[in-house]
Symmetry: C2
Subunit: 94 residues, 2 copies
Amino acid sequence: MSLLDLFFGEKKKTASVAKERLQIILAHERGERSAHAPDYLPALRAELIAVVKKYVQINDSDIQIHHQGNLDVLEVKIDLPDTRPGNLAGPSAS
Amino acid sequence: MSLLDLFFGEKKKTASVAKERLQIILAHERGERSAHAPDYLPALRAELIAVVKKYVQINDSDIQIHHQGNLDVLEVKIDLPDTRPGNLAGPSAS
């Protein structure tokens, strides 16, 4: 599995034109002796999202939180708008 | 490949006791029409690292930047110190 597949999943294969994308992941792995996530994790998540929002627009649907075994993962996947002239109407409709 | 392997790689199998860990990834995929990373990417990277540093200690060796094809990835992998009583001397020596 290449790093590209890893981050953007299979979706990219179906896109007619590869879109510009940004992905942010915050993964916390609880150790054998730490039954819970650190109490600062929610605040850290919120602050990371707030920082990204200063640079690009994030929709609620772009944000996912996964829990898998002892792993808590915040995942933010953003399709960036095509900002070339003539495309400034926002995210391309293709 | 499970999400756990994905984020923490094979190292976890050799660790005698699974340590508590945090990983942050910022991945930018250039689209077919965007030859360069956005000019805000370095500032966004720096700000994300600054936010994480407010919560946990990050060593320079924890930070890596990968370039693979049209993918630019900032990866921060942090082994969190064992904060249980009797272990407050900082990162466990095991």
